[in-house]
C-alpha cells in the first residue's frame, strides 16, 4: 500500500509519456462550472488518462466532484473548459447526435439504482442498447445477450420483469445490458450502493471477470474506500481536484 502511494506520481508521468492511442479516455485541463445564480466551480484543471483494459475507481466524499467527472467521461455533460477524448475522438465538440451514438457504441453505464426499464424483461433490457443502435436483432445478437446473462449468473430470470428480480439480479442485468454492445468503457456509479455485502462482492467479482475476459476499461465511482481497493487504480477527488492517483 505504502509502496503504491510512493509510486503514484511516477505512474501518472508514465501515463503522459505513453503513446496517446493507448489511452481510451483522456481528459485535458478540465474545468467545470455550474451556474445556479452564482458560478460554482466543481472541477479544477483535471488531467487524467485511462488505459484500455484498466480497472479504475474514482473515490471521494459527497460533493467532491466525482459524479461530475463521471458525467463528463460518460459524455452526459460537457466541460466548461478543456478537452475530452474517448477512444481518440474529441467529445466536447461533438453534436448531441454524435454523442448519443458514441455512448451507445463505446460506453456502458451502470448506476446505483440500476434503472432497468420495468416495462421490459431482463433479456429485453439487455438487448436495448443493440436496438438503440438500430441494428437488427439476429440470432447471434440474442445468443450474445443470453451468454451475458449466463455470464452474470442470471439466465434463470431472463424472462422476468425488473420488479420480479432481486436487487442483486437487477444490478447484474444492468451490467449485462451495459456490456451488450461490447463497449470499450464501462462506467459504474456507486454500482453496489444499494446492495448487501454478498451481492456487492459478487458484483465486483463479475466486474473483475469482465475486465479480464473482455478487456473492458472499467471506471467505478464510489465513496467507499474498501470497494475502491478492489480495483487496480484509485483516483481520489477532493474539492474538485485530484488528491491522489494510486496504481497498485
Amino acid at each position: 500500500m505504502v509502496e503504491s502511494q510512493i509510486k503514484k506520481l511516477d505512474t501518472q508521468e508514465d501515463f503522459v509519456k505513453t503513446e496517446k492511442k493507448a489511452f481510451v479516455i483522456e481528459l485535458k485541463n478540465i474545468d467545470k462550472f455550474y451556474y445556479t445564480g452564482v458560478a460554482t466551480q466543481v472541477l479544477f484543471d483535471i488531467n487524467l488518462q485511462f488505459r484500455q483494459g484498466s480497472f479504475n475507481s474514482i473515490v471521494g466524499p459527497s460533493g467532491s466532484g466525482k459524479s461530475t467527472l463521471m458525467n463528463l467521461i460518460g459524455t452526459l455533460d460537457k466541460p466548461t473548459k478543456g478537452e475530452i477524448y474517448i477512444d481518440g475522438k474529441r467529445t466536447d465538440k461533438m453534436t448531441k447526435k454524435e454523442l448519443a451514438e458514441l455512448r451507445n457504441k463505446a460506453i456502458g453505464f451502470v448506476f446505483q439504482f440500476h434503472y432497468l426499464l420495468p416495462e421490459y424483461t431482463a433479456l429485453e433490457n439487455v438487448l436495448l442498447p443493440h436496438r438503440i443502435s438500430k441494428e437488427k436483432i439476429t440470432k447471434e445478437t440474442k445468443t450474445r445477450a443470453l451468454d451475458l446473462l449466463t455470464f452474470m449468473g442470471i439466465e434463470d430470470v431472463k424472462n422476468n420483469l425488473a420488479n420480479n428480480m432481486s436487487g442483486g439480479q437487477q444490478q447484474r442485468t444492468a451490467i449485462a445490458r451495459a456490456l451488450m454492445n461490447n463497449p470499450k468503457i464501462l462506467l459504474a456509479d456507486e454500482p453496489t450502493g444499494n446492495l448487501d455485502t454478498d451481492s456487492t462482492d459478487r458484483v465486483y467479482d463479475l466486474l473483475r471477470d469482465i475486465n479480464e475476459d473482455f478487456k473492458t476499461t472499467i471506471i467505478v465511482i464510489t465513496h467507499e474506500r474498501r470497494i475502491a481497493e478492489k480495483t487496480d487504480r484509485i483516483i481520489e477527488i477532493r474539492d474538485g481536484r485530484i488528491h491522489l492517483d494510486l496504481l497498485k
Binding site: 459524479s67 458525467n71 460518460g74 452526459l76 455533460d77 448531441k96 447526435k97 448519443a100 451514438e101 458514441l102 455512448r103 451507445n104 457504441k105 453505464f109 448506476f111 446505483q112 439504482f113 434503472y115 426499464l117 420495468p118 416495462e119 421490459y120 436495448l128 442498447p129 436496438r131 438503440i132 443502435s133 438500430k134 445490458r177 456509479d189
Partner: protein, 392 residues
C-alpha cells in the same frame, strides 16, 4: 418494431388502467363530437328536405298586373339548357272556393303537367289513396281537406272561381272528379291545395295557353347556390324584358337560412370545444407520463437513444391514443345516434351516417392527438439524463 413505437406501447401496457381510462375519456369526447355533428347535419338536411326538398326552389312569375305567362313552353325549352336544374314544371294556379255544406272554403287550384311536376313535388308517392289526376276535370285533394269533406274516390267536387272579363268579374264553376287523396305532411298544403291538370285550370279560368308560374328544382348539392343559378337564368333569358320576375328559395327564406347557419355554427363550436378539451386531456396525461417515465428516459438517453427518438416515443403515444380514441369515439357516437333514433318517436330526422364527416373527424382527432403530444415530446427530448440519474 421501431424502438420508440415499441417503448410507447410498453409504457401503455405497463400502466394499463391509466391507458384504458384515457382512451375511454377520449372516446367519449369524440363520440360527443360525432353524435352532435351527425345529428345536426342530419337535422339540417331533414329540415331542408322537408322545407325545400319537395317544393319550387326557383320560380318564374309575372311581374305585371296580368298574372299569366304567355309562351311558357318556349321559356321551358330555354330552361332545359341549364344542367343545374333537375325539374322544370309549369303551373297554372288560381284561387278558388268550394262549398262545404254552408261553409265556403278557400282553396288553391293547382294545375300541373303531372309528369313535369312529379320530380319537384314528388306527388305520386304521397297519394295514399287513388291515383294522380291525369284527365280533364280530374283532381286530387289533401288529407286534412278530405277529413272535412269526407269524400271517396270517384266522388265529385264543385269548385268555384272568378274570371276577369274586361272590367267585370265573372263567376265560373266546374265539377271535378276526385281521383285520389294526397298527404304532403303539411297541414297548410293538405288543406288548401287541389291538384288537377294544367289544361283543366286553363279551360276553367279561360287562360288560353298561359300559366301563372314556372317552377324549378336544382341539383341537391347546388341547393345553396339556387340564388346564383336564378341570377344566371334571369340574365340569360332577359326575363325582365318579358315582364317576368324570378325568385329563389334562398332569398325568400333568409330567416330559415340564418337559423340553419347559426345551428351549423353552434355545432362547430361544440365540436371545437370538445376537441380542445380532448387535446388538453391528452397533452396533460402525456406530460404526466414524461415525468413518470423520466428514469426510463434518462437511462435510455445514457444508453444512446437520440433526443429525436426520445420525443418520438410520446408522439407515437399521442398517435396511438388518437387512433384508439377515434375508433372508440366513432363506435360510441354511432351507438348513441342509434339509441337516439330508437328512443325518438318522430321519424322527422333521418340520420345520415356521413362517412366523409366520420373519417374527417377521425383524421382531425388523430392529428390533434399527435399535436397534443408535441409539448410532452419536447419535454422528453430536452430531459437531461444527469438530472434523472442524480435524482436517484
Amino acid at each position: 418494431m421501431n424502438l420508440p413505437l415499441s417503448i410507447a406501447l410498453r409504457f401503455f401496457r405497463r400502466s394499463k388502467s391509466q391507458t384504458i381510462l384515457i382512451v375511454i375519456g377520449i372516446s367519449i369526447g369524440i363520440s360527443v363530437q360525432i353524435f352532435v355533428g351527425l345529428l345536426l347535419q342530419s337535422l339540417q338536411s331533414s329540415l331542408l328536405n322537408n322545407f325545400v326538398g319537395n317544393s319550387s326552389q326557383i320560380t318564374i312569375e309575372s311581374d305585371t298586373e296580368n298574372p299569366y305567362i304567355e309562351g311558357y313552353e318556349g321559356i321551358i325549352e330555354d330552361l332545359e339548357e341549364f344542367d343545374e336544374l333537375t325539374g322544370i314544371a309549369a303551373a297554372a294556379d288560381r284561387p278558388a272556393t268550394i262549398q262545404d255544406g254552408l261553409k265556403t272554403r278557400n282553396v288553391l287550384l293547382r294545375g300541373f303537367n303531372i309528369d313535369d311536376a312529379d320530380p319537384i313535388y314528388n306527388i305520386a308517392p304521397r297519394i295514399y289513396e287513388g291515383e294522380e289526376a291525369s284527365g280533364d276535370l280530374e283532381a286530387i285533394i289533401g288529407k286534412e281537406l278530405n277529413d272535412e269533406l269526407d269524400l271517396d274516390t270517384d266522388d265529385t267536387l264543385t269548385i268555384f272561381g272568378i274570371v276577369k272579363k274586361g272590367e267585370d268579374n265573372m263567376a265560373v264553376n266546374r265539377t271535378f272528379k276526385i281521383v285520389g287523396f294526397f298527404d304532403f305532411e303539411s297541414e297548410g298544403i293538405n288543406n288548401q291545395w287541389i291538384i288537377t291538370t294544367i289544361e283543366s285550370v286553363q279551360e276553367m279560368f279561360n287562360m288560353n295557353k298561359t300559366v301563372t308560374s314556372i317552377e324549378m328544382q336544382v341539383e341537391e348539392d347546388l341547393l345553396y347556390e339556387a340564388d346564383e343559378i336564378a341570377d344566371d337564368i334571369d340574365k340569360e333569358l332577359d326575363l325582365e324584358d318579358d315582364g317576368l320576375k324570378i325568385s329563389n328559395w334562398i332569398d325568400e327564406n333568409q330567416q330559415l337560412l340564418n337559423g340553419l347557419q347559426s345551428q351549423g355554427l353552434s355545432s362547430l363550436f361544440i365540436q371545437a370545444f370538445v376537441l380542445i378539451s380532448v387535446v388538453i386531456g391528452i397533452s396533460s396525461v402525456l406530460a404526466i407520463s414524461v415525468v413518470q417515465k423520466q428514469q426510463q428516459l434518462g437511462i435510455l438517453k445514457a444508453m444512446g437513444i437520440t433526443n429525436r427518438s426520445a420525443s418520438l416515443i410520446f408522439l407515437f403515444q399521442g398517435l396511438i391514443l388518437g387512433i384508439f380514441g377515434a375508433i372508440g369515439g366513432i363506435v360510441l357516437g354511432i351507438f348513441f345516434l342509434w339509441g337516439f333514433t330508437q328512443a325518438s318517436a318522430s321519424d322527422f330526422i333521418v340520420i345520415q351516417y356521413n362517412p366523409i364527416f366520420i373519417l374527417a373527424s377521425a383524421a382531425i382527432i388523430i392529428g390533434s392527438s399527435v399535436l397534443a403530444a408535441v409539448s410532452p415530446a419536447i419535454k422528453s427530448s430536452k430531459l437531461n439524463p444527469i438530472e434523472v440519474i442524480r435524482g436517484g
